[in-house]
Structure formats: structure tokens, C-alpha cells
């Protein structure tokens, strides 16, 4: 059975609709059954921006077997009027539209209508204007799906994966937020996610917090007191995990193919390396949710919105990872 992917256009003011139009013209689309969810005029806007035209067949995906419809299935919604779409601006209307479409996709996941969600970029400012009520979309989705376990954004680029123990917090709070429990959860999450993405035994490195991994305690003791014991415990189990490794050279081990993933201690530790290696090509996987949810790591790119210049590469990679994760997830459940 092909993976059933719900594809949503993200913020209508950005490059999301154009990316969806471009993705639909890619070969990888044949690997899945795709359900478009959202406003017809938004999808048509993206097609006009991309200079492409896709025949879309309206379905009520909640009540009909949408996979059997001829052509491209569209679960049509009315979340905003064409007049309310203002290119390259964060608006309350576009944020509300984004959240309503996302809600519908999450409902479809819970009803078993689709197996995974791929979303084109959201705009955080718009979603906050519309009252998202959470720090980011991952926490919003986790609440909607009733997830109480550990969740974290995972980032991937060209076969390099990272997760992080702390994320959007002040640097001065990082050291206090690092504990063995969080390190183990972040490591288990990336291990589980990589297995689902097709790695039989992911090789994981845990990054150090301090320069030179603390240099034997001279520049910080977190490696000795917290990280080393956590890694030793996990390495004693089933996981192929090493660390703590100095963070200035750990990413070279990934680019050289010696390891698959790095568990980072703070936001910029991993993001500097990933964005350096492929600013616009990375993919974000929303880790810890009960189904695969992926998105390009880049944003709504207001500077080029509507110009027909958007690069579909990261969106394609997000789609391919979602398809692969659905297949492996099914095998995992069957086993």
C-alpha cells in the first residue's frame, strides 16, 4: 500500500503554495497517494506563481474513499477569501487559515484518513496573531494529538541528522537545563526516528556542552557529571551511541560518514553546522508525534514570495522522508 500523505500549503502569504505546486510536478509524487487539504484558490495561486497547472478533484475525505478518485484529490476548505491573501505579509487571516488547515489534517490523521502530514512553511508571526497559544507548531500539534511524551524538532540534511536537548531558551539557562533524563530522551527519540527513516542501527554521537568537551573538567564539569554517565548507560543498551564529543569537530564525523546523527545540547550548536552545510536544503521532522510530520527547514521566504523563484528541493526531501517513515512505521507496528 502506498503511503497516504496529507499535503498542506502552509502560510498562503509565503512561498508555501508555490512549493506545493512544484512538488506535485516532481516524480516522487508517484510514490504516494496525496491528499491536498485547504482552499482551492490558495493551491491555484501557487500554481499560477509556479507557472504550473494541476487538475484537482474535490472530495470529502472524511466520508469518501479519496484514494479512488480520478486525478488529484482535494479536500476543499474555506479558511480565507482570496482578498485576504496578502503576499509577503504576516496577517491574522493567514495565521488563522494555516491553523484551520492544520487542524483538519490532524483530524484526518486521528481518523486514519491519512498516514502522514507534509506541510509547506508556516509563519510564526501569523500563527501568533491568530492565537496559536503555544511556542511553536510542534507543541500545538502534540496537544491536538494528545501526546504527553517527549517531543523535539529533528533536523536533517543530506543524511545528517540532529536533535537537541534544549532549544529556544537563553544561553545562560542551557547548562541548568541539561540533565541525564533529557539527554536520554533526545537520544532515544533520534534513534527511534532514524530507524523509522530506514537506518537499521543508527550511529549516534552525543555532543559535549563545553569547549574541548570540558578538557577533563577544566572548562566545565557537565561532561563528567552528566553527559558521560548518560551516554555510558545508553551504550550499555541497544543503541550505537558515543560521546560526549567536542562540538567543533563532531559534525565532521557526520560529513565523513562515520556517524549518522548528533544529539546537540543547545540550539545553535547543531543549527550552525546544518545551515552552513545546506542553508536551504534541510528538512525538519516533528519528532515524538504518533505519525510522521515533516516540513522544509526554511521559512516562508517573504522576500521571494509570489515571484516564482522558490526552490522545491527541501520540500521534496521532506516528502520523501515522510513516505519512507510511513513504510517503516508500518513494518514496525506489524513486527
Amino acid at each position: 500500500m502506498s503511503p497516504r500523505i496529507g499535503l498542506i500549503p502552509g502560510d498562503p502569504s509565503g512561498i508555501g503554495p508555490e512549493l506545493v505546486a512544484r512538488l506535485l510536478a516532481e516524480d516522487c509524487i508517484a510514490e504516494a497517494d496525496v491528499l491536498l487539504i485547504g482552499d482551492r484558490h490558495v493551491f491555484e495561486l501557487g500554481q499560477a506563481q509556479a507557472g504550473l497547472s494541476h487538475e484537482m478533484t474535490a472530495v470529502d475525505a472524511a466520508t469518501t474513499d479519496w484514494i479512488r478518485v480520478d486525478g488529484l484529490a482535494l479536500h476543499e476548505m474555506q479558511t480565507l477569501t482570496p482578498d485576504e491573501v496578502v503576499l509577503a505579509e504576516s496577517t491574522e487571516a493567514s495565521g488563522r487559515s494555516t491553523l484551520r488547515v492544520l487542524d483538519q489534517a490532524l483530524d484526518f490523521v486521528q481518523q486514519g484518513v491519512i498516514d502522514a502530514i507534509v506541510f509547506a512553511p508556516f509563519n510564526k508571526a501569523s500563527m501568533h496573531m491568530a492565537g496559536i497559544g503555544h511556542s511553536d507548531e510542534l507543541h500545538y500539534m502534540a496537544e491536538k494529538l494528545g501526546v504527553s511524551g517527549y517531543i523535539s524538532e529533528l533536523n536533517t540534511l543530506d543524511g545528517m541528522w540532529t536533535s537537541r536537548v534544549t532549544s529556544h531558551i537563553a544561553l545562560k539557562d542551557v547548562a541548568d537545563a541539561i540533565d541525564a533524563h533529557r539527554i536520554e530522551e533526545a537520544t532515544h527519540l533520534i534513534d527511534r526516528t532514524l530507524r523509522r527513516a530506514g537506518y537499521a542501527r543508527p550511529r549516534i554521537a552525543v555532543a559535549a556542552l563545553n569547549p574541548h568537551a570540558g578538557d577533563g573538567g577544566n572548562f566545565g564539569r557537565e561532561e563528567i557529571d552528566v553527559i558521560e554517565p548518560a551516554v555510558a548507560r545508553m551504550a550499555g543498551g541497544q543503541m550505537a551511541v558515543t560521546g560526549p564529543l567536542p562540538s567543533d569537530t563532531v559534525f565532521l564525523k557526520v560529513t565523513r560518514g562515520e556517524i549518522d546523527a548528533v544529539v546537540t545540547m543547545y540550539h545553535d550548536q547543531g543549527q550552525i553546522a546544518l545551515k552552513l552545510l545546506g542553508f536551504d536544503r534541510g528538512v525538519t521532522v516533528q519528532g515524538g508525534l504518533p505519525v510522521p510530520v515533516t516540513t522544509p527547514a526554511h521559512g516562508t521566504a517573504f522576500d521571494i514570495a509570489g515571484r516564482g523563484e522558490a526552490d522545491v528541493g527541501a520540500t521534496r526531501a521532506a516528502f520523501e522522508i515522510a513516505c519512507k517513515m510511513v513504510s517503516n512505521w508500518e513494518q514496525e507496528s506489524a513486527a
Partner: protein, 323 residues
Amino acid sequence: MTRTGPIALSCGEPAGIGPEIAAKAWATLRDSCPFFWIGDPRHLPPGTPIREITAPLEALSACTDAMPVLRLPFQGSADKGQADPANAAGVIRAIETGVQLVQAGEAAALCTAPIHKKALIDGAGFAYPGHTEFLAALAGCERVVMMLASAQLRVVPATIHIALSDVPSVLSPALLRETIEITALGLQRQFGIAAPRIAVAGLNPHAGEGGAMGHEELDWINDLVRQMQSEGLAVTGPHPADTLFHAAARTRYDAAVCMYHDQALIPIKTLDFDRGVNVTLGLPFIRTSPDHGTAFDIAGSGKANPTSLIEALKLAQAMAASS
């Protein structure tokens, strides 16, 4: 004014890989980048072709045929892999000699091979935290700045070897201002960049995102950058660190001033692992060094990689030509 003369290369810890990579660097650079080695030839790999010189200028013509050596007898053993404190005085004299020659204008620049601090403490009561501080003391400088430079990127960490949890309290407007000023002056005087563009990284993720994840940017980093702009410096920021180092961003500045060690070292090592070179800014002369240690574990095995030293010598030459 262009500095002429060859580059002085100090021996460093003789039991480490310094002598071996010096000989390998000479084989690569003999026709393109004249330098002379200050040390005891007993420590060089057997069979290294050398030419003893008495004055630096002789190295300019000698370098093509053999590695020019300014001989300095060391008292300790020539064994590799373990430092002999009896060599400590020689290691220090090689550095002092290099400084004298570059300050006298006989050498165009100083390049230093790695030292082993403990051996210098044991053997000579070395009283400095490191190589750089020793050079600053010899030159009479209060404050110097470490830059890492490669063909693709120059970075300056404002704080270096301290715990990450100490970074926010050690950083101060005075420290950051001094770091930016020394960096700007160094780029002007030693890199020939008339109006250096300096990008300052934020401390917090997304540069604090308006105070949502950290306040230092709002509390003082923004103000300091604006203030220095009004003084005429081409300084920008604070920039979110994660989008400061990709190829397009790197074209917008001549050096990035970073808040902590790994913020600077992750990008340069990920981009140019063994081509990064250490440059000390703020000294009255040019000083470069390879970005690695003595590597006792492979010393004497012939496996040492000279790339960083070669890059350090080439950069010293380029800096001398543009200063």
C-alpha cells in the same frame, strides 16, 4: 609598506610533531614561501636537508635547496612522544629569538609550532597561561585577540576556554568592544583591509528574538554595536548565529566576532577542518600558528599532517605582503 624578509618558524615542543611538519612544510613551500626554522637540528627527522644560516636574510636564497636553520642548541633528549623538561629553555629561547628577529625587521613574520605547556613549567618555570600570553608579554601588549582564519572564513571568539555556563557573565561591553576594536585594527594593519566589515554574532538562539529567548542582545549588545557604528566602524549585528556562516552570509563580512569558543570553532572546522590557522591580533608583529597541538601520540611516526602549518606559513606570507 610591505614587510620583506623570510618568515621565522619556532621549533615548538621538540618531542611533538613540530619538527616533522616543519620539514614537510619546507618540502612543499621551498620555492614559494621562504622561511627559516629556529631550533636544534637534532630534533628534525633524519635525512632532512638543512642549511645552517646565521642571519635571516640568507634564508631567501637558501630555502630552495635546503631548509634554512638558525641553530639553537637544546639541552634535552631528541626522543619523540614524551617531553623532556631539559629542552624547555631551548623551546623558550626559540620563541624569544623569533620575536627579536621579527621586531628587528629581519623576519617578516613569526610562525610558531605548538608547545607543551607542562614541560615548560617543569623545565623552566614558565609562568604564562599559554603561547599567546607569552608573546604578548615579550611584546609588551596588555590585550591580544585570537582569530581563526581560513580561505573561507575568519572568526574571533570573544571568550575562549571557559565553561559555557560562565560565558554570559564573562562577556561584558568592555570585553566585546575591545575584541571588536583589536579585530578591526588587525584587519586594517595586517590584512590590508581598509574598512573592515565585522559581523557580531548574537549570544542567544535567534539573537534572542526580541527578548523571547535571552536578554543580553536587548540589554547591551545592540547598544554597543550601534554605538560603535556611530563611531564609524563597519560593524553589524547582533546576528542570529545559525544563519551567519552559510556561503551567502560569509560574503557580507571580513570577520565574525563570536560570543563563545564553539560558536566560532564549529563553523570554521566544519568548513575547513585542517586548513584553519591561528592568528594573534594586537601584537606589533605578525604571528600565525597551526591550529593543533603537539600530537605526542603520533610524533616520530611520520604520519603528522603538515596542512595547518603550511597554511599558517602561507597566511603569514600573505599578511606580510599586505601590511
